[in-house]
Symmetry: D2
Subunit: 129 residues, 4 copies
């Protein structure tokens, strides 16, 4: 009677992690970071947080839409989440953001079907050779 | 030490309701509705679901960003959620979507600071007189 | 043979103005403002630019989707564009952003069907009376 | 005096192609496809159009935000645009969408720094070996 989602449990978890990470990165950047300034609004860090929020939303939307491209978007989202977590950790005072980025990265790796070897390679641009 | 959100509890609830409603509308439209066809892909209904998903995301993002425009976006989001809930109810088989739209509408009305009189008026275009 | 858009010319113009304003606000905030700092990353100003970008995208998407809510979203978008233009003008050095915000505001007012009286009222929360 | 964009001409072109393709795919799906039904609302095709619109917006936003992840997002966007163009071509009557998807794919490939070998590989999931 009631529509029951046909998405797998792993995908539902990943969507939720992406939505939480999107919210945390956007809220932290637009409130804590802007209000604090200094290293928090250093362009490279701030861009990482906004990029991470953008990619989390896009990954969630592709999963929700039944898109054939969700795996590849999740792989890129995982890379962004890990970079964002590391940047937040170095600056400090953003432990919840670090934690939600790491959870999302893990969930997105699982969803992308990636192996540890893919994961190691993902930090680099795809080689042409 | 850890960044603690400075958003009010009511706003945090509203963000969560908007994210859930966005996810439910997008997933239902792009899976159940497309797979079922018939009344489920009737243009007016399908557009309502996608509009509702768009407005929920926009309302959530404005709240997360500390935007001065979040109240007015929440007021419009509430109108869309109520219209979407009604359309889903008439077609049937989308009870979870109906419920999440109604929860989101309620939460957005509270956030918009609207009175019942505003609420009654919101279904109409703002009168010039 | 070829699909020809059935959108009105006024709506096509408004969509284009919204997309240009979205791009200019996002690019300016994430590049010029972050690289310059000072008044450019003052929270109220920076949030206005990101809010304006969000509302322009949402207005464009609702128009493209045939949404019944596009008029009311355009009315809110116009308010945000005017506020963003004024803030950019006061800080200075963002003339192109000021110009694109003002063009978008004008186009969105036309699309919203608003009268000058609506426009004057739009800066305030909608009155219940 | 006036802020002049520091983005390269190639990137500005790519942003514009992504915005045009986003608009065309979303408008066509939500108007022509929904109004026509039949093959136009067949789930695989409709999802491709919405996925393409999502990825174009995300690629544009990452470029506008100065994100380090824009090249990889453009590579994925190009794959989606080519798939969407092919699906629209097979169904017919969407020549403008086909053309804008192909232009966007070409522009995104250039932006991604991809070689023809990358391009051939992009249709497949990244190999672990």
């Amino acid at each position: 009677m009631m529509h029951t989602s046909t998405l797998s449990d792993a995908m539902k978890d990943c969507i939720e992690h992406c939505q939480r990470c999107h919210a945390e990165c956007l809220e932290t950047a637009m409130n804590l970071c802007l209000d604090t300034g200094g290293r928090h609004t250093e362009p490279e860090h701030f861009r990482l947080m906004i990029s991470c929020a953008t990619l989390c939303q896009s990954a969630a939307d592709l999963m929700l839409s039944g898109s054939a491209f969700h795996e590849r978007q999740c792989a890129l989202c995982a890379v962004a989440c890990e970079a964002c977590a590391q940047s937040c950790e170095e600056i400090g005072g953003m432990e919840q953001c670090v934690e939600l980025c790491r959870q999302c990265a893990q969930s997105c790796w699982t969803m992308s079907g990636g192996t540890p070897r893919d994961r190691a390679a993902a930090g680099r641009r795809p080689a042409a050779s």
